[in-house]
């Protein structure tokens, strides 16, 4: 049996036998099933993954008719990171006309709502210009990023300093105060951009600072969808598991800490999100087959419960994509194909 060339989660190459491949696929799905209390992949799913990884071709794509819609996060930042010297408007034209983008996303280089708030009057006219020279739907995206609300970056005592001193109640109060301020900032910025004509909003990397971060995202989504009945809010998560940094917070009676994607989805739907972006983190020390089998297990369970479109996060370090700025085409294309086809996705 020919050996199989694949990679670890950090992108480094590895050669596996068919038996080793199968073992990693089984262990990956078992890990997700146990952690998330969801069904493991079926025998058909595992065989399909085996075939995808055993294919000798350097690049794979979905079967015709199975294509999905792509949405993005941090779009203009990618050009700046690569030091391609175009402004944000031109970068979106490049995405639309040269990169086959189904949707566009405008965002600020800080990519957090708090720093955007004082400069939103500069963001609005640029959004209006972007909308006048593009055809594809334009999102505005940023992160709740609750970390910016604690000292020294923000007004509230730093929970990471309070907790080691045993000041748990004070740390929780700090998180609760930060949620209220973050919600105000998100609603203010998103409302301004929507009133400038944005087609949709992306709250991205929701949960990066734990359960309080998620609560801010859900509350802001609820307020925005009540205030603007036509608004589309895409809620994109930060990780597969909501960290209980506060640990006592709940939304509509459901405790947030510890929720996996299929349960996160239910709250996103209740809040009024129109698109949900679940995440599964990549383990850089495990193989891509292990990571992909694990990620698809979480995402399949999420898709089966969804009433709204699911756009799985498959950027660097999530969705079995490698933790590297330069994704290798071999495993990236395999992950893209497998995730879309097995989960019956709506988008990425």
């Amino acid at each position: 049996m020919a050996s199989i060339q694949t990679r670890f989660g950090d992108g480094s190459p590895v050669t596996m036998s068919r038996g080793e491949l199968r073992q990693d696929l089984e262990e990956g799905t078992a890990d997700a099933a146990e952690r998330g209390s969801v069904a493991p992949l079926t025998e058909d799913d595992l065989r399909r993954l085996e075939d995808i990884f055993a294919s000798p071709h350097r690049f794979l794509g979905v079967e015709p008719g199975r294509e999905i819609v792509l949405s993005y996060d941090g779009t203009p930042l990618k050009m700046k990171r690569a030091q391609v010297n175009v402004d944000r408007l031109q970068s979106l034209q490049i995405y639309e006309k040269l990169m086959g983008a189904d949707t566009l996303e405008m965002g600020h280089v800080d990519y957090s709502f708090k720093p955007v708030k004082p400069i939103v009057t500069f963001e609005q006219p640029l959004m209006e210009q972007v909308l006048s020279v593009t055809t594809a739907p334009v999102f505005y995206g940023a992160m709740p990023n609750l970390g910016l609300y604690s000292q020294p970056d923000g007004p509230f005592p730093n929970p990471a300093e309070l907790m080691p001193r045993g000041q748990i109640k004070e740390a929780q109060e700090s998180y609760e105060a930060a949620v209220e301020e973050a919600v105000k900032d998100i609603v203010y910025v998103c409302g301004a951009l929507y009133e400038s004509g944005a087609d949709a909003i992306i709250l991205d990397t929701v949960g990066a600072a734990g359960d309080a971060d998620v609560l801010a995202g859900l509350k802001a989504t609820e307020i925005l969808t009540e205030k603007y009945p036509g608004i589309c809010v895409e809620l994109g998560m930060a990780s597969e598991f909501i960290l209980g940094m506060h640990s006592g917070l709940s939304y509509k009676g459901v405790r947030l800490a510890g929720l996996y994607p299929h349960d996160q989805l239910k709250l996103a739907q209740q809040a009024g999100a129109r698109i949900f972006g679940p995440v599964c983190n990549t383990n850089s020390g495990k193989s891509t087959p292990w990571n992909l089998s694990r990620a698809i297990t979480f995402m399949k369970a999420c898709c089966e419960e969804a009433d709204i479109p699911i756009h799985v996060n498959m950027g660097m370090g999530v969705g079995a994509m490698t933790v590297h700025d330069h994704p290798p085409l071999d495993v990236a294309s395999r992950a893209s194909k497998a995730m879309v086809e097995i989960c019956r996705l709506d988008g990425l």
Binding site: G100, A101, L131, G347
Partner: protein
């Protein structure tokens, strides 16, 4: 960048090269799942669902219906003009189109 290009080629609908932006609009405007969104767009374009990612067929359809082209020519509907036509064809509200309209004086409508 490499990530976005990989997904676009492996799994994406092709954006304006085909009808990816139109299908995306149905998810945004109505929260439609992918199969329903594709069926709606295919119905409006009077084509099959499998045609939606064909750049040759979709270029012809977009040109005929004024939905914006990857390579627009002089006089062809572009950008905001195309979005007026997209909103009408798909029977959806497009936020910037509504706001554009609201900024015009009544005599210009």
């Amino acid at each position: 960048m490499g990530m976005a290009i990989t997904h676009a080629i492996a799994s994406g609908m092709g954006g304006m090269r085909a009808a990816g932006d139109l299908v995306a609009r149905m998810q945004i405007a109505r929260g439609m799942k992918i199969d329903e969104a594709k069926a709606h767009v295919a119905g409006k374009l009077k084509c099959s669902v499998s045609d939606l990612t064909d750049p040759i067929l979709m270029n012809e359809a977009r040109d005929e219906l004024g939905l914006g082209l990857l390579h627009p020519y002089g006089g062809s509907p572009k950008c905001m003009e195309a979005k007026f036509n997209i909103a009408e064809l798909l029977e959806i509200d497009v936020n910037c189109v509504q706001r554009f309209r609201s900024h015009l004086s009544a005599s210009n409508l």
